[in-house]
């Protein structure tokens, strides 16, 4: 790959390019969008979790000043289901019948001239229900049980035989709580119709899917729908779906023939935009006295909505975590009258890794083997399920570097043996991995007569740094300075992009930009193929490098000052071309062709906790995260990803729990005052370091690092708590009442 050799602009920690507009408040989020004559919608949620709406009286709401319209299932036009994103079904359109599937499900939309008028009138919509008894508990056998819902269950070897052969056996049951994504930005939609076309400003991580969904729901050509989101306001997975409020806002704007804005309330963010499903998991391990695993058996039951689907393999990651001849993983889902679960940062692994890595820790104490040595003893040199070589794996280095930086071997392995100023001290660790994912994505590059370039894609930047790293990458690939490159995203009118999710966008988009830039250079070389004035005449892509604002022959050394090449502007000017545009598309690599397993990121987490056993206080004292993320495009922003994910992991481990009222299905703590996330004072110094090599599966060599930083945090904390106290806590979150 001739043009990907130079890396002067990559790796370095340049500041995020969108930083200044964000910290000065100038970045326009969807909730900031205003149109003249814009109306405002407020949503009315069901106050029962199951049954049907028997009557809606909206007369009082309609009589309020400024109220323009009340939409209910009685007067809503028919909407078709939207498009299905990669990890879920198509969102069922709201207000299509009188059935209630969960608490908070929208039963009416009130549209008024001001948001205050809409919210006030929404409280006056009187809804009567014929309630059914809701199914709310994961162990409620009346809820439909789905076995192997996605065909991901795995089986290799003979687990029963492996268990029988084991010298030590362990079985443990783990539970993880519901968590809610809670991006700071309230999800918002502004829809403005112009005839039969509509512009939608929407908080989403996936513009192209919103476009497709609105087109399907309203039976429009996709060309009639434009979705814009230059800044998202956070997502953590909540923006991977098209949620009912988006379709209802588009509907209200169409019926009203005015632009309409909807901004969800914080409580609606707990019922309307997904959450992490709770799980009950059983892990069985068999091992020889020397630590060799003879069997891994992991079964997970998670909750899912009665009227929607969610693809979230919790147990299946255990099949590829460690070398073991006998392994079985099974995922089950129970349908309940709960708000629709969806992806939340590190979906599946956040729960599944907790169970497996805690079980391994328990096994290490049973065996009297250091937890780190036990993991290295069963290190998977090749992908255990397929037997294919990894395209890159530096997890051994993650463990080694982490142990050194953290001082792992300085710990006294005896439980409860370490104390400091009245606090019990514990060390814990966990291995981490996040599976590879990528999907088809396109990018478009234009080079202008002055030699500058514009690169764009319909992708989103959810705060991860996509704007920054794609600008860096584009400049690198084209041999331009950063100031000569504009990179833009967040508009479905740009070339198709997959979601910003599943740790897949950087690879998918980076490789698409690579294809586009290569294509641009090839097109320019084609332009000069018959050009006697060009030093590049007769060159192919392999013969050249992009540097110093143009294309230079490789055999002339390519060093600075070489004149065996020319600038983009010179080529365009001489051929009377104003500008040149090329599209590029990336598709996921095929292991059948590469002979390598599709390989995601790896990591190791080392945690020190302090426990006050009298009051039950638990403090995370420090965390070392060592990550193999393949090529790191911007170390500063990559570090931010791991920092943020670690904070999310601390939240999952000791704070976050979405609580459902047992009788009603209402979320009992749907505010930031009641749903606890880690605050600054809860977050200690976090050590982050990257190891490894560029991944061999794609030219760009990234592996995606959005999720892996969260994985393993909860297990390492729980394992450290055990080391500090001797209490083996298998239920998240770990709260002080469990520790006192």
């Amino acid at each position: 790959m001739s043009v990907t050799e130079q890396r002067a602009l990559l790796g370095a920690g340049i500041d995020r390019v969108d930083g200044p507009v964000k910290v000065t408040g100038a970045a326009p989020y969807p909730s900031d969008v205003r149109y003249p004559d814009m109306a405002h919608a407020a949503l009315v949620g069901s106050t029962v979790a199951a049954g049907r709406v028997s009557q809606i009286d909206s007369a009082a709401a309609r009589a309020q000043p400024g109220v323009l319209m009340v939409i209910t299932h009685e007067n809503a036009p028919t909407l078709r289901p939207g498009a299905a994103p990669p990890f879920a079904g198509p969102t069922p359109p709201a207000l299509q019948d009188d059935r209630v599937h969960h608490y908070g499900q929208y039963v009416a939309v009130v549209v008024a001239n001001t948001p205050q008028q809409a919210a006030s009138a929404a409280r006056l919509v009187s809804v009567s229900y014929e309630p059914d008894e809701p199914l709310l508990a994961i162990d409620d056998a009346r809820g439909e049980l789905l076995r192997d819902p996605w065909g991901f269950d795995s089986q290799r070897g003979d687990v029963a035989a492996g268990m029988a052969a084991a010298e030590v056996r362990l079985e443990a049951r783990f539970t993880t709580s519901e968590n809610t994504n809670n991006p700071l930005g309230l999800f918002s939609t502004v829809a403005a119709w112009d005839g039969d076309t509509v512009i939608v400003h929407d908080v989403t991580q996936f513009t192209s899917n919103v476009q497709a969904s609105i087109a399907k729901a309203f039976e429009l050509p996709e060309s009639a729908v434009r979705v814009i989101v230059p800044y998202v306001g956070g997502g953590f997975g909540a923006g991977l779906r098209v949620w009912p409020h988006t379709l209802l806002t588009v509907l209200a704007a169409r019926l009203l023939r005015r632009p309409v804005k909807t901004v969800l309330t914080r409580p609606q963010m707990f019922t309307g935009v997904g959450h992490r499903a709770n799980t009950v998991q059983t892990v069985k391990l068999g091992a020889m006295r020397d630590g060799e695993l003879t069997a891994i058996d992991h079964e997970s039951l998670q909750t899912v909505a009665v009227n929607d689907d969610n693809v979230e393999p919790v147990a299946s990651g255990s099949a590829s975590s460690y070398a073991c001849a006998n392994a079985s993983t099974r995922d089950l889902q129970r349908r309940l009258n709960i708000p629709v679960p969806g992806s939340m940062r590190a979906p599946g692994e956040a729960q599944g890794n907790f169970a497996l890595e805690c079980a391994l820790d328990e096994l290490s104490y049973e065996l009297g083997i250091d937890p780190l040595q036990l993991r290295l003893r069963n290190y998977a040199e090749v992908q255990p399920a397929s037997g294919l070589p990894w395209s890159s794996k530096a997890q051994r280095e993650c463990f080694a570097v982490g142990a050194e930086r953290f001082g792992w071997f300085g710990r006294n392995p005896e439980v409860g043996s370490m104390q400091e100023r009245g606090w019990r001290v514990g060390y814990g660790l966990a291995g981490a991995a996040y599976g590879w994912w990528q999907a088809r994505t396109e990018a478009r590059v234009t080079v202008y007569g002055d030699g500058s370039a514009f690169v764009r894609s319909a992708a989103t930047d959810i705060g991860t740094g996509t704007y920054t790293v794609m600008k860096q990458l584009s400049a690198e690939l084209l041999g331009l300075e950063l100031r000569q490159v504009r990179f833009d995203l967040g508009d479905s009118d740009m070339p198709y992009s997959t979601q910003s999710g599943g740790s897949g966008l950087t690879g998918a988009l980076g490789n698409a930009i690579n294809v586009a830039c290569n294509g641009l250079i090839e097109k320019l070389l084609a332009l000069v193929a018959d050009d006697d004035d060009s030093p590049l005449q007769g060159c192919s892509l392999e013969d050249v490098v992009a540097r110093d604002g143009g294309i230079y022959r490789r055999e002339h050394g390519g060093g600075a000052g070489s004149d065996a090449g020319e600038g983009y502007g010179e080529i365009l000017a001489r051929h009377g071309v104003a500008d040149l545009t090329v599209d590029g598309e990336s598709v996921p690599p095929d292991p059948g062709q590469t002979g390598m397993a599709l390989t995601g990121a790896f990591g190791a987490k080392f945690v020190e906790v302090r426990v006050d056993p009298d009051l039950g206080l638990l403090r995370v004292a420090r965390v070392t995260s060592v990550i193999d993320g393949g090529r790191i495009l911007n170390e500063k922003l990559a570090r931010s990803q791991i920092l943020g994910a670690t904070v999310g992991g601390i939240g999952q481990a000791i704070f976050e729990e979405t609580v459902t009222d047992p009788g009603t299905g209402r979320i009992a703590n749907a505010t930031f005052g009641d749903y606890l996330v880690a605050v600054n004072a809860d977050v200690p110094e976090l050590d982050v370091v990257f190891v490894g090599e560029p991944d061999r599966n794609t030219p760009i060599g990234t592996k995606g690092i959005g999720e892996v930083g969260l994985v393993g945090t909860a297990a390492a904390i729980a394992n450290a708590v055990y080391h500090a106290t001797g209490k083996r806590l298998r239920s998240l979150p770990i709260t002080l009442d469990q520790l006192m």
């Binding site: 106050t47 006030s120 009051l615 704070f655 009222d661 047992p662 703590n669 009641d674 606890l676 600054n680």
Partner: protein, 330 residues
């Protein structure tokens, strides 16, 4: 949010009159409780807001052994006061353990006394059963997901917590609330100010509709100079207490001469633990004494499954605070 009338009078008597003349009127000070309940939760709908922030009720003045704190003094201002720091450490610590800097810069001392419970069943109009909001309707929290709820002064009818940190040392201190009403001024000891939910969930305190708190008098007894506030919560900062203890202690040799004890995070009102004070006074400084005081502090708790752990946690909180003020061997 329903439409409302907004007024901003210049003097206290005028403010009281504007509220007195209209049943749907309420005072507005820092707004950290009132606006949440109006705008976000929609559980109160005043038809008239009388903004008192321009009234001359802000400031701290010392008069002998009493510190008079104007009702509009902010939490942050009181926390920074040198007399409070030196003579009332537990008040200083409780102030800084509450809310966040941003909120403390808005929230007033008068408002802190009147803050409404954080109970999510009270703060959600979609919940029908709330004896505090709708007397006689029941209590959803008792059968719901209770954790941040009260175990003292509570009953089947209501377990809503009074979540103030500040009020915990203030009841220990015998602070006095100065009130301007439609019929003139009066003073009420803070220990007589609140009405436990077990007695009447909807009453909360002794204020009449148009009564305005103008100041809070903080005595400066010598015992309070050796005091502390311990707040136990799930996260390190920015959360209400699961349990807390405000303790002041004066020892003479190995004997406790005088003690003040109050509990937070456990009561439907800020909880003065006089039984604990009696158990301490005249007793030797020892772990056994401290534990006996803690046992005396938590008598006849009303618990639900989610709050049962608070009984023991509150006792340990009292013991820890006592041990911090008077170290004893384990």
């Amino acid at each position: 949010m329903q439409p409302f009338e907004y007024m901003r009078p210049d003097d206290a008597a005028g403010a009281v009159a504007l509220v007195a003349e209209y049943p749907g009127a309420q005072f507005l000070a820092g707004g950290t409780t009132e606006l949440d309940l109006m705008l976000k939760d929609g559980v109160i709908e005043p038809e008239r807001l009388v903004d008192i922030t321009r009234l001359p009720l802000r400031g701290i003045a010392r008069d002998g052994d009493v510190l008079r704190v104007g009702a509009l003094t902010t939490m942050e201002e009181l926390a920074a006061d040198a007399t409070v720091r030196g003579r009332l450490p537990f008040v200083h610590e409780a102030l800084l353990a509450g809310a966040s800097t941003q909120l403390r810069n808005m929230a007033t001392i008068g408002g802190n006394l009147l803050q409404r419970t954080r109970c999510r069943y009270f703060r959600d109009a979609a919940v029908a059963a709330c004896n505090k909001r709708a007397p006689g309707s029941g209590c959803a929290a008792v059968r719901g997901a209770a954790r941040m709820h009260a175990i003292l002064g509570a009953s089947e009818r209501c377990i809503a917590l009074h979540a103030s940190d500040l009020c915990v040392p203030l009841v220990a201190l015998d602070a006095v609330v100065r009130i301007q009403g439609a019929d003139g001024e009066r003073s009420v000891p803070l220990t007589d100010f609140y009405i436990p939910a077990a007695a009447d969930p909807s009453a909360e305190n002794v204020l009449a509709h148009s009564d305005l708190i103008t100041a809070v008098d903080l005595p400066l007894p010598p015992v309070a100079a050796h005091s502390g506030y311990l707040k136990v919560r799930d996260r390190v900062s920015y959360e209400f207490a699961l349990t807390s203890a405000a303790v002041a202690l004066r020892t003479e040799g190995a004997t406790i001469a005088e003690a003040r004890v109050a509990l937070g995070g456990v009561g439907t009102i800020p909880w003065r633990a006089r039984e604990a004070e009696q158990a301490l006074t005249g007793a030797p400084v020892s772990l056994a004494t401290f534990r006996a005081a803690a046992e005396a502090a938590i008598r006849d708790p009303f618990t639900v499954p989610g709050t049962a752990f608070k009984v023991e946690l509150a006792k340990r909180t009292v013991v820890r605070m006592l041990r911090t003020l008077a170290p004893v061997p384990s």
